[in-house]
């Protein structure tokens, strides 16, 4: 449940399904928009993760 990747995929799934249902009417158009949004979010997240990979992590954030 606490896997970052799993939570990212779950979030992308929920948001993509929501907007596909909200913005499109036909099943085919809904499936197309869902795939575009879902792959865009997951792929974009992975791309940003790889772009940030060279940067050092730094010390852990203090717990307030």
């Amino acid at each position: 449940m606490l896997s970052h990747f799993f939570l990212m995929v779950l979030y992308a799934f929920v948001v993509s399904a929501f907007f596909a249902l909200l913005w499109r009417r036909g099943r085919r158009e809904q499936a197309k928009l869902f795939l575009q949004l879902f792959l865009g979010m997951v792929g974009g997240g992975l791309l940003v993760a790889y772009l940030m990979y060279p940067f050092p992590q730094g010390p852990p954030a203090p717990i307030p």
């Binding site: 449940m1 606490l2 970052h4 939570l7 979030y11 929920v14 929501f18 249902l21 909200l22 307030p64």
Partner: protein
């Protein structure tokens, strides 16, 4: 130096034909928009069910509830107005979009989230997303009720 006199007027452009205005698509109004919007706000998806969009209403309900449930499982923050933190007002308005579940969580179950939980930030995103999604559902139901959407 310019060849033309300073007071010369530019040649008039030929009149371009104006395309005919495309009439906006309208649909038959359904129900009372205010009642539909309030129903949509109180319970996610209820506005669409009221408008006889059964499948979409049920799907929207499930999506908002899943987002809400995951956010609570991760101990995300349920925004409330904090003194000297004006941005918390925006977060509160966004989270309040989920309607009855917000009040149920906040006052009925005393939920507030756990800031030291490992999934706190993710949970906050899920909870806020649930509220914002329902705000969009309210607007969608409002437009359907007024006949501006199908």
């Amino acid at each position: 130096m310019a060849d033309t006199a300073p007071d010369a007027q530019p040649a008039a452009r030929p009149a371009t034909p104006v395309p005919p205005a495309i009439p906006a698509r309208t649909f038959a109004p359904v129900g009372h928009p205010v009642v539909v919007a309030v129903a949509a706000w109180l319970i996610p998806g209820l506005g669409h069910v009221y408008l006889r969009r059964w499948q979409r209403g049920l799907a929207f309900f499930l999506l908002v509830v899943v987002s809400l449930w995951v956010g609570c499982q991760l101990q995300g923050e349920l925004y409330r107005v904090a003194p000297n933190q004006p941005l918390s007002l925006l977060g509160t308005l966004g989270a309040m979009g989920m309607g009855i579940p917000y009040w149920l969580l906040r006052y009925g179950l005393g939920y507030s989230g756990d800031i030291v939980a490992a999934g706190h930030e993710y949970g906050t995103a899920f909870l806020l997303t649930a509220g914002l999604m329902n705000w969009l559902l309210v607007l969608d139901a409002w437009d359907i009720s007024r006949g501006k959407k199908e």
